[in-house]
């Protein structure tokens, strides 16, 4: 596929990197020569220095031959203009990043008029991710399938866990678990465990389970489930504002406190969200945090604009073991070296946005036997969890799963049929109309048949 990316910021470069790895022809456009040079030296793509909203630049990028144009500059307006000018010269699908909450109500109209196929709001998507994360407070992150009926959780095994030293088959029997521990990350290495694999200290396990079954796993591991009632949020950013709207509808959330430095922002938020307690203070002052109840809050979410502040705040909050800590980090490079044990869950708006776009492109790439419904990339993009819709009969349907020869490091983790979630064992079969979750390491699948050896 030929993909043009306008705007080589964090989202743009993340997408370029991922897509180039999947063998697409990528052309990056950015006004800044340095940004273009940087991406050229890291990614096998073509670079053009210029304003992507100008027709001449788009023609230089041969946009008429493109399959997708992704406008992800820092300006919503430029993104929309770029999509408009692209539409004039090409019939490709356009994707625009639109962050400004003020435009939220008119997005649908704009999309229809300008024939934009997809708009991405990284902040809104991140807020949803945070909300989902909070719901399963014991996991580092949770990815959903089948409208949340089946989830993939990434959980750290604490040092004092009861299941350390036990085999997976033992654990499943002992605690009557119905789910699947589909991958274990240990000392930087990821592998698919078998029934006789033993759980070790410091392991990060990936659990696939129905939503209510997940809590049995957490229990077994030694985490006590605690519904999140009180929230302390630092930084009145856009993400925070979207989060307020989401939490508004959550009946459990009884106390939501925001700590924000800028007085004007505080007034604005206090006006719009009367249920929130707004505190105007500098959160980096430890005394302030303690005074406002950091040690007693159920969830602590660091959403300021500065990574370093967020990290420091989270380290502080995490000293209290029973607090669910979520940290927002903007700079992707740091994520792999961040120690999640100290920082809790880490969310990265750009990665979330990039994932949505890549999922969109992958899903549209194939027609025929199956369609990608969801795509989540984990562990530095080494692990992929994909949700496929099975539309037609093929080599994998109507056959017992244990009879299907799969590639290495591929797992069929869940089947969704007639509103029921099935955690498959070898005896189950895949039928037409099913949705299937595939978990794989170091592979990139576009089609369900790719899982075959």
């Amino acid at each position: 596929m030929r993909i043009v990316i306008v705007g080589c910021g964090k989202v743009g470069s993340t997408i370029a990197r991922s897509l180039a790895n999947e063998n697409h022809n990528i052309i990056v456009i950015d006004k800044d020569q340095d940004k273009v040079n940087k991406i050229l030296s890291e990614v096998d793509c073509m670079g053009i220095v210029g304003n992507g909203a100008i027709q001449q630049v788009l023609l230089e990028a041969e946009v008429e031959k493109a399959d997708y144009l992704i406008a992800c500059t820092s300006s919503d307006e430029i993104n929309i203009l770029t999509c408009l000018m692209t539409r004039r010269n090409s019939s490709c699908k356009t994707v625009a990043r639109m962050r400004n909450p003020e435009y939220a109500n008119q997005i649908e109209y704009i999309m229809n008029e300008l024939d934009i196929s997809l708009t991405i709001n990284p902040d809104l998507a991140t807020a949803h991710e945070i909300a989902r994360n909070v719901r399963f407070s014991n996991s580092i992150y949770t990815e959903s399938f089948f409208k949340g009926r089946l989830n993939l959780h990434n959980v750290i095994i604490p040092d004092d866990s009861k299941i350390i030293g036990k085999k997976l088959s033992e654990i499943t029997k002992l605690y009557n678990l119905s789910g699947l521990i589909c991958m274990i990350e240990r000392e930087g290495d990821i592998f698919v465990p078998t029934g006789s694999s033993v759980v070790k200290k410091g392991d990060k396990v990936f659990i696939v389970a129905r939503s209510y079954d997940a809590f049995k796993y957490f229990d077994a591991i030694g985490y006590k489930y605690k519904p999140i009632k009180s929230y302390m949020i630092i930084g009145g950013s856009r993400i925070a504002r979207y989060l307020f709207d989401i939490l508004d509808k959550d009946n459990n959330a009884s106390v939501i406190k925001l700590i924000e430095k800028d007085h004007n922002k505080c007034v604005e938020i206090a006006d719009k969200n009367p249920k929130i307690s707004v505190v105007c203070a500098d959160a980096t002052d430890k005394q302030t945090l303690i005074r406002e109840g950091m040690n007693d809050t159920d969830a602590f979410i660091a959403l300021t604009g500065i990574d370093e502040e967020n990290i420091l705040l989270s380290l502080l909050a995490n000293t209290n073991k029973s607090t669910k800590v979520i940290t927002k980090v903007n700079h992707l490079n740091f994520i792999d070296s961040l120690n999640e044990i100290k920082l809790g869950s880490v969310v990265n708006p750009e990665k979330i946005a990039a994932d949505i776009i890549i999922q969109y492109i992958r899903a549209n790439m194939n027609a025929g036997d199956s369609n990608i419904e969801t795509l989540h990339r984990l562990c530095n993009d080494r692990v992929e969890a994909l949700g496929f819709k099975i539309k037609d009969n093929s080599a994998i349907t109507n056959k017992k799963i244990m009879d299907i020869k799969l590639k290495d490091n591929v797992l069929i983790a869940g089947i969704y049929r007639k509103n029921q979630v099935i955690i498959p064992n070898g005896q189950d079969e895949i039928l037409v109309g099913d949705s299937v979750v595939i978990i794989t390491k170091d592979n990139k699948f576009n089609d369900i048949l790719d899982i075959l050896a």
Binding site: N23, N25, D44, C45
Partner: protein, 478 residues
């Protein structure tokens, strides 16, 4: 330094060399020559080495430094292994000589230690010319065209491709490499066909075709190109020229963008220099010729031959006045266009430093003014100007250093200086004792080794070789 990945890539290069070395074996069957078996054996040995190297487990880190080392180390290894058949078949019984000939082949220099190339088997001559063909567009570029693409490709391409800025034809490096080779093979086929139609024997057409394509200079007859008809020689002028212009132009033509293609500044200056220099030589040497046609033909042929760094000759120009010989030395340094198979300093670099020098003079008079250098209608970023200027200095130092070593030989200045210039610029033809009638046998082993380093440095544009020899590249705290 991710040596494992480097060795892995070199393994790929060796596999390609092994496949290429099979071709002379086929030629030997055709001409019923004994030496063929050495090529077969060597091909198998190289294949085994290549496969062994490819087994080294790789780790992803691969940056510019690794790219340079792959190019430098790879080219040295393929040269050493490529000289084995010549040595073991005793056609070139001294190893240093066999190695020299092979390095001269791959780097498309074309300087030879042979007095008479007809003493070599047809197989050996075919191999020599084949090395020109592959070395011209590049072994690594061929590898990139064949092997499935990975994200490190850009670093490899930059290391082997000539010119100040490496431009891509299409987004993916592997596709760019495929396109380049497609254009290259098509043009070579056209060359061979034209030579055959002009009356050259079939074998000569192929060998000289390869030699022209890589702008190398190896010939297979006693008197070099003088043995062919005027028509063949005129065709040589045309094709030498065609192979030394930027291949991007051919790509643009293939896409139908004729106007953009012919607007090329580098192309226009290149043609201008050829015309001006040839004209000056015509005037300067007019006393030596009876017919005007001979005069122009000789001037144009040798001008084109040397500026494209091919190194074909149709006459011993030792009798020419010093001015003309000086002009030849000058265009030896100029070289061909970037993005072609020609060597030398490159016309695009010349244009950039000349414009920068001109700006500098202006700036001395008007210190606060802002002057930009534009090339091919685009502003040249300061970083590029800086790199080109630094390159010029290192280039000069290599010539001065090389000449110092060769001057230990006690030859005359013309020989000494022109040998270094012709070797470093991958021309293969100099003046005085290294002119059309001369060869490199007269030099000592020390000089031959110096020449080999210079040939590689010239073809790979210096930096890869320097990095290979520099301790800093290899130390962990790079």
């Amino acid at each position: 330094m991710n040596i494992k990945k480097v060795l892995n890539y070199i393994g790929s290069m060796l596999i390609i060399e092994a496949i290429l070395m099979f071709l002379p074996f086929i030629v030997s069957i055709f001409y019923k020559e004994q030496s063929g078996k050495y090529y077969l054996i060597a091909s198998i040995i190289i294949l085994i080495f290549g496969l062994l190297l490819k087994r080294s487990k790789t780790d992803k880190r691969f940056f510019t430094a690794e790219g340079f080392i792959t190019a430098a180390l790879g080219w040295i290894i393929i040269s050493i292994l490529g000289s084995l058949p010549l040595y073991f078949s005793k056609e070139i019984p001294i190893f240093i000589d066999a190695l020299f000939e092979t390095v001269s082949g791959f780097t498309t220099t074309g300087a030879t230690i042979l007095d008479d190339s007809t003493l070599l088997s047809k197989t050996a001559n075919f191999w020599r010319c084949l090395t020109h063909f592959v070395g011209g567009m590049g072994v690594l570029v061929l590898m990139l065209a064949i092997v499935p693409s990975q994200s490190e490709d850009m670093h490899i391409m930059k290391a082997e491709s000539p010119g100040p800025q490496v431009g891509k034809l299409v987004p993916k490096v592997s596709d760019t490499a495929k396109n380049l080779y497609f254009i290259y093979i098509t043009l070579t086929a056209l060359t061979i066909l034209s030579y055959k139609l002009s009356g050259m024997p079939f074998y000569d057409s192929i060998c000289l075709g390869f030699s022209t394509a890589g702008t190398g200079g190896f010939t297979v007859t006693k008197n070099g190109c003088a043995d062919y008809s005027y028509l063949s020689q005129i065709l040589m002028i045309v094709f030498m020229f065609l192979f030394s212009i930027n291949f991007n132009i051919y790509f643009l033509i293939a896409l139908g963008k004729f106007k953009t293609a012919f607007k090329s500044e580098e192309l226009k200056i290149f043609i201008l220099i050829i015309v001006v220099v040839a004209s000056l030589i015509v005037i300067n040497t007019r006393d030596q010729y009876v017919s005007l046609f001979e005069n122009i033909h000789n001037a144009l042929f040798h001008t084109t031959s040397i500026i494209t760094t091919t190194g074909f000759a149709i006459k011993d120009y030792t009798a020419w006045p010093l001015f003309s010989k000086y002009l030849l030395l000058l265009i030896m340094v100029f070289g061909g266009c970037a993005g072609s198979t020609a060597g030398g300093f490159k016309i695009s670099r010349l244009i950039i430093i000349f414009k920068q020098a001109y700006n500098e003079i202006y700036l001395q008079l008007h210190p606060n003014s802002v002057r930009i250098v534009k090339f091919e209608d685009r502003i040249v970023p300061n970083e590029t100007i800086r790199t080109v200027l630094s390159y010029s200095v290192i280039y000069l130092m290599m010539i001065l250093g090389g000449t110092a070593i060769i001057s230990l030989e006690k030859f005359d200045l013309q020989t000494t200086l022109s040998s270094v210039l012709e070797i470093f610029n991958n021309v293969g033809l100099g003046i005085s004792k290294v002119g059309p009638l001369g060869n490199i046998t007269i030099f000592s082993n020390l000089s031959k080794i110096t020449f080999m380093i210079l040939m590689l440095a010239g073809r790979l544009e210096i930096f890869p070789i320097i990095m290979l020899l520099s301790r800093k590249t290899w130390s962990r705290e790079r």
